[in-house]
Amino acid sequence: MKTIKLLAVAALFIAIAAPLAMVPASALADGERYVLVSHAPDSDSWWNTIKNGIELAGEQLGVTVEYRNPPTGDLADMARIIEQATASRPNGIITTLADYDVLSGPIKDAVAQGVNVIIMNSGTPEQTREVGALMFVGQPEYDAGYAAGLRAKGDGIKSFVCVNHVISNTVVAERCRGFADGLGVELGNSMLDSGQDPAEIKNRVLAYLSANPKTEAILTLGPTSADPTIAALKENGMAGDIYFGTFDLGTEIVNGIKSGIIQWGIDQQPFLQAYLPVVVLANYDRFGVLPGNNINSGPGFVTKEGLELVEKYAGKYR
């Protein structure tokens, strides 16, 4: 009687697990196989665009692309996943370089075992070269800020304030430095450490603008600092009057662009960070062709004109 129960449990286990495992086995039959390893936890919705990007690339090119991530976002677990991906002998691995110390070892081992690697999203061109990856596909923060600075300069801007809500993140601060260099002005005191709290950000922006009324432009570094800044500008009546640019997109930012409060938003275009590496790897494996440089997925400037597509594909491909 008891043995029968045990057997029933075993049968149930296989019955549940088998069909799920069969799916990829058939998909493996044709085309190359690539694995994308991200550093994002399951709950991070930003990466959904990435998943859709590799899916579309896989369909169009007839290759299999698998998405893997550490469920809790633990980078040590991510290192194990890269090791695992290498052991499964894929044609190539696409991964982020979120922490050079933790991830460089497994990535170097993958390269040395003959697996082609492309770094996406996080990392620098120097680190990419050091681990032996083919290229880096992402948005270099300084260059993105510089491009934005040039654009603002063309619009006649001579002074600005950069609202930085992640002052401890040195990479993101590069955006402010690039913007200042693009404008051709000293960064000096133009970087405002706003903190993370919406009310605090709003009040600090208000205080800065009343102390420095000649400020011509505002640069925010993401929705966290952009949303309260919009509220601050509406309160002191400068909305629509002051030149306002921001990094990354969000609902409030898109509305701000639509209503003319924000001149442009910089999109790092995650879709391209997922789609392009698959295309590059597939063509490299098939024909041996490889672009000669790193690919900048951003900055993509979103203005009033291009909003329709952004709204249509928000959360899917944008």
Binding site: A17, P24, A76, A79, Q84, K108, A112, S168
Partner: protein, 374 residues
Amino acid sequence: MTQSQQTKSVNDERVKQRSRFHQALIRPELGGIFGTILVFFFFFLTARDSGMFSPTGVMNWSVVSAQFIIIAVGACLLMIAGEFDLSVGSMIGFAGMSIALLSISMGLPIWLAIILTFILCMAVGALNGWLVIKTGLPSFIVTLAFLFILRGLTIFSAIATTKKTIIGGVRDAAEGDWLAPLFGGKVLAGLFTWMGENGWIETFSRGIKKGQPVIEGIPMLIIWAIVLIIFGHLLLTKTKFGNWIFASGGDARAASYVGVPVKRVKILMFMFTAFCACIFATAQVMEFGSAGADRGLLKEFEAIISVVIGGALLTGGYGSVIGAALGALIFGVVQQGLFFAGVESSLFRVFLGVILLLAVILNTYIRRMITGER
């Protein structure tokens, strides 16, 4: 309840006679043994060609399983003693950060940083245990508080001293240290080089490591896991202290009436759990060369899941270290195996839940067979 009582009085007419085969079969880890066979059988069928059973593949799930085993052994002994520790994951982040801050930011030598961190962690473990004993509160609540306290302290101390949440450079600092290789080193490197030269295992095909075997050696993580299993198993089944652990978890009051130092046993077990978490953290920091404030997230549940799959009772007084180790092995093999089998990664948690449920159901039947309860 212990096995020694069952086996000693064979000729006593009050004890039901059982065949030797039956005797060998019914043990707490039976569910774990059965599950391990099933899991390997399953993945051998579905993921045989995926590299899962190649040398690098085997090394991959072995290391992941060894990580689970290290924290599961501690959690297992504590659970048998009747208590929980939900602060294991936070303790891992805390210990790693402590080593990085002491060595990199404060400039202490690595060996001193490691020793101080072990002392600190075991002190926190002792504090956990003391609070549970002193207040009489469930350990679930006390250690839940420490889950938050330790995680918060880790993030705060990292930001306050370095303005960063990831501190690197430990690998360079550990160069030439005498204690660091005990956690982050690899053994039997010569054997693998020899195997690589003979073409038995693959070698790197390009780059500066060309010609070297793809496996450098057995990581110390695996050695620690084996040592902890042997230590835990012997402690639990062959010593007086082991009987005290069972007694403290089975019925603490009855145990203290017959002279078992229940408080001491429980506090020592809390310290041992912290010790295991600290080994995990040290090995991780030494291998990867950096400490992050978010390391070890949810590891406490992974430890508890391993122990439960291995047949231990959540209420204490019943379980085995071998079972917990097998539970950790199942967990590790399933986690990495699902990647090898190419299963959509968002389904991972579904599998985890299903396996946990099946393991608990199976173990309940087995325990009823053993204890005769209905």
